[in-house]
């Protein structure tokens, strides 16, 4: 197992290297010039060239790439071309809203969706099953921003229970933190409940027809034990996969939700950086997103072993 983890960590290194090279080249081949953005409307060509020089944009691509990689290996992610702030600071500022939203959404979704999916499978074809499937279809079909606006309209504008927008770090008060993260969490949760409940139901349906489940029931085990211990645990691999990928998706940016609720998360940072051609910021957030995917995939693989002893990695 440890050998497998080491092997996966080592395999991630060339992956990250390839991502770094790809992102770097893609940005340089994309039209747009950060120096022109900085210089404004009245800069002379000489001034524009001076700004490009000061940013190192006139250096050969190879020199720029190795300079960036060398700095990166020293832990220096560079500074934002526009604001002049260290990229690592910008990312750190934006991590808390994103991670908070991802955690609250995934935790709430799992708490609701897994039991719903289990019940729907257990009561297949009944009214409960159809109701869960209807919720699932709604969760998939209604765009997140529509759900967000409806939530704001009802809970903020009509009832006045929650603020319309904004984020408060957890360090500034637990109450304010939950008060502000609640609506975006509920909004995203609907989508993830739909996803996880559907997968849970499908996986459970496959398992519930298996011989060992029938045997467990024949032995007189309580139904709850049959469902949760024998069935759910054995079908948890695809559920864990979906939860993991869902978590990674939120971490790497949910721009629409962040915009509707004005959350200063990584998604908005990425979009802003792309629109303003802030190369160091774009490169860093894409590398970070790739790293998150690699780590989460590794954790999912490890979780497989823990949940299903039949799975072995050599």
């Amino acid at each position: 197992m440890y050998g497998y983890i080491l092997q996966r960590v080592l395999a991630a290194i060339p992956v990250m290297g390839f991502v770094a090279l790809f992102v770097f080249l893609l940005l340089r081949l994309t039209p747009g010039d950060p120096a022109a953005i900085l210089a404004g409307d009245t800069a002379t060509p000489e001034q524009l060239a001076a700004i490009r020089d000061s940013l190192g944009l006139n250096d050969p691509l190879l020199v720029q790439f190795f300079s960036w990689i060398t700095d990166l290996l020293r832990g220096d992610f560079g500074t934002s071309i526009l604001s002049g702030k260290p990229v690592i600071e910008l990312i750190a500022d934006r991590m808390e809203p994103t991670i908070s939203l991802a955690l609250t959404t995934i935790i709430l979704s799992v708490i609701i969706a897994v039991p719903l999916g289990v019940i729907a499978a257990w009561k297949q074809g009944t009214l409960i099953d159809r109701f869960v499937m209807l919720l699932s279809v709604l969760g998939f079909s209604v765009p997140v921003f529509v759900i967000g606006y409806l939530m704001i309209s009802l809970f903020s504008m009509q009832l006045g229970w929650f603020p319309v927008q904004g984020f408060r770090p957890i360090g500034e008060g637990l109450g304010d933190f939950f008060h502000r993260i609640a609506l975006p969490t509920f909004t995203l949760t609907l989508l993830y409940i739909a996803l996880i409940a559907r997968i849970t139901r499908t996986s459970m349906l496959e398992i519930l027809g298996d011989d060992y489940v029938r045997t467990a029931r024949a032995k007189g085990l309580p139904e709850s034990r049959v469902l949760m211990r024998h069935a759910l645990r054995n079908c948890s691999v695809p559920i864990i996969t979906v939860i993991g990928i869902g978590f990674a998706l939120i971490i790497s940016g949910v721009v629409v939700t962040e915009s509707v609720f004005n959350l200063p998360g990584l998604g908005r940072l990425t979009v802003d950086a792309v629109l303003s051609r802030d190369y160091p910021v774009i490169q860093a957030v894409i590398l970070l997103a790739s790293l998150i995917y690699v780590v989460i995939n590794l954790l999912i693989d490890i979780a497989y072993v823990l949940l299903d002893p039949r799975i072995r990695y050599s």
């Binding site: 994309t30 039209p31 747009g32 010039d33 022109a36 953005i37 900085l38 210089a39 404004g40 409307d41 009245t42 800069a43 002379t44 060509p45 001034q47 524009l48 001076a50 700004i51 000061s54 934002s80 526009l82 604001s83 002049g84 702030k85 910008l90 500022d93 606006y149 704001i152 903020s156 504008m157 006045g160 229970w161 929650f162 603020p163 319309v164 927008q165 904004g166 408060r168 500034e172 008060g173 637990l174 109450g175 304010d176 939950f178 008060h179 609640a182 915009s259 509707v260 609720f261 004005n262 200063p264 908005r268 940072l269 802003d272 629109l275 303003s276 051609r277």
Partner: protein, 539 residues
């Protein structure tokens, strides 16, 4: 026990009430657990995010607005467009008109406590003069700039008399000649200043700055405002709140909800389609603060064929009806004006010379005739179309259709604004990624005279603005305007410049429109100005 229908209904009602009460209590307790809030904090949603903090290095309006918070100016225009002293107490001009001596008013100090001196002024004006168009013209007349006999004096020696010295120092929009400490002003103008230290009415709260999210300013307690009432950026800059927070809300609906729910106090530029909702709210004031509004323009590239032919440029301009553009862009006629004045309507230099087809919308036949006369061969006209900016994505579509109606073949190329910004600097041929035309918007104060208006610069590929018309006559007229001190003669020069500019097809204003600001009625004293100002406001 059997319940009657009434009892069941009552019981359900009580249950619902209980659930609602519990939920409300939970939510209220969450709110009570909230962190600290600052008294007298004014929260404003800005039109864009503040990213570049140096208002001299860039012309971005957010950087200019930031400059007005942190820095002060020697002079400022009042609402009659007349320069008024701001940091300056008085000034004298020598009999030969070559020496200007300025005395600073008492009590001026930077945020680090250092007094403002003539050396700071000289360095600041020199840096601004490297970057700003009007500043560059001023510098071409300047022999020297030095501190005067005492530390609070500043002297400009000219090579020859120049009529717009004070007007230049009172320039209201990008780039504004903000005054900063000498050590910052000595930063090359192609590099950002390393600190935000000014002598303006607000200090910069650096530790709370989140680019793209939030910028925070605190009242500068040692600022000494002038005694005159405020008028635009002139007069007393009295700060009545402890903090001002600029926040960015990428979604307009969120900003609308936040203003209506009292979570923000001020929304700089709500889109026109949401204005009726704000107008209907008795707790919100909606008002246009910028009487000069915005000028939206079309700019041809004179370097690339067939736009290198003046008749083709004239045909393109003649085909456009301002009303069509403004109906599509703004919609509400109360928020726009048909205005062919290159130096903006309702200003001393406003003139309608040469603009009839744009405002009357009767130029289509003229456009067709010009195309035929020029022998237009159907070469596609590349119009850059920025699709990510709400106030810029409409005009190219309307102009392209008008040009097609006149007989042009148009290649409308969709791109984001930053791609356009990079691409418009290219003088390359079309085959190498060049362009024929783009549209942009200017704050009225950025185009209201021939020196600040970049589009009537006729210097060509060396020193001209994107599009690069090479029209020496325009440069002669601009210099005549600059050295003239009599307003009536200045008006004549301005009208002549506009006439030549239309004849040469260097650019066309395709409408003037206004962007009202909305704020909570809890605020008082919001000022009219060409840029959003946050002094004088109380909450």
């Amino acid at each position: 026990m059997k319940h009657t229908t009434f009892e069941k209904t009552k019981a359900r009602g009580m249950g619902k009430m209980l659930r609602t009460s519990v939920l409300s209590a939970t939510v209220a307790s969450l709110a009570l657990m909230a962190g600290p809030s600052f008294a007298q904090t004014l929260t404003a949603v800005k039109h864009s995010a503040l990213r570049v903090l140096d208002p001299i290095m860039t012309t971005a309006y957010m950087s200019r607005n930031h400059g007005y918070m942190i820095f002060d100016t020697l002079y400022a225009l009042d609402s009659d467009l007349v320069p008024q002293p701001q940091m300056v107490d008085s000034h004298t001009v020598s009999d030969d008109g070559l020496t200007y001596t300025f005395t600073l008013r008492d009590g001026l100090a930077f945020h680090d406590g250092a007094p403002v001196t003539g050396e700071d002024i000289a360095a600041s004006i020199a840096r601004w003069g490297e970057r700003d168009g009007m500043g560059q013209v001023l510098m071409s007349f300047v022999e020297s700039m030095t501190q005067g006999a005492s530390a609070n004096e500043f002297v400009i020696n000219l090579k020859e008399p120049y009529g717009l010295v004070i007007d230049s120092l009172a320039k209201p929009s990008s780039n504004v000649p903000f005054i900063m400490p000498k050590r910052l002003a000595e930063t090359p103008s192609t590099e950002p200043i390393p600190e935000q230290i000014g002598s303006g009415p607000f200090t910069w709260v650096a530790e709370e700055f989140q680019p793209g999210v939030k910028a925070v300013y605190a009242k500068f307690e040692d600022y000494v405002p002038r005694s005159e009432p405020p008028s635009w950026a002139s007069g007393g800059k009295v700060v009545n709140v402890e903090r001002v927070e600029w926040v960015v809300m990428p979604d307009d609906q969120t900003a609308l909800n936040a203003l209506q729910a009292g979570e923000i106090d001020y929304w700089e530029s709500p889109p026109s389609d949401l204005l009726p909702i704000l107008d209907a709210n008795p707790d919100v004031t909606v008002k246009n603060l910028n009487a000069l509004g915005m000028q939206t323009i079309m700019r041809p590239n004179t370097l690339n064929a067939p736009m290198d032919d003046v008749r083709i440029r004239q045909a393109a301009i003649a085909s456009v009806k301002q009303k069509d553009v403004l109906d599509a862009l703004v919609g509400n006629p109360e928020l726009y004006a048909l205005c062919g004045a290159m130096f903006v309507c309702n200003t001393p230099l406003a003139s309608d010379v040469g603009s009839e087809t744009l405002t009357e919308g009767n130029g289509m036949e003229k456009a067709k005739a010009l195309l035929e006369e020029a022998g237009y061969d159907g070469t596609p006209i590349v119009i850059m179309h920025p699709t990510d900016v709400g106030t810029l994505r409409t005009q190219p579509v309307v102009v392209a259709q008008a040009m097609r109606d006149a007989g042009f073949t148009v290649d409308l190329q969709a791109m984001d604004w930053q791609t356009l910004v990079g691409k418009r600097a290219s003088q390359a041929a079309i085959a190498d990624g060049g362009w024929h035309m783009f549209m942009t918007n200017w704050v009225g104060a950025d185009v209201f005279n021939p020196l600040v208006n970049n589009m009537v610069n006729g210097k060509g590929p060396e020193g001209g603005w994107f599009g690069w018309p090479d029209v020496p006559k325009l440069e002669e007229l601009r210099m005549s305007y600059a050295t003239e001190t009599d307003l009536e003669k200045q008006k004549e020069y301005a009208a002549e410049i506009q006439k030549v500019a239309y004849e040469e097809g260097v650019y066309a204003p395709i409408g003037q429109y206004f962007v009202p600001t909305a704020w909570s009625n809890e605020l008082e004293g919001v000022l009219d100005a060409p840029a959003p100002l946050f002094w004088n406001i109380s909450k």
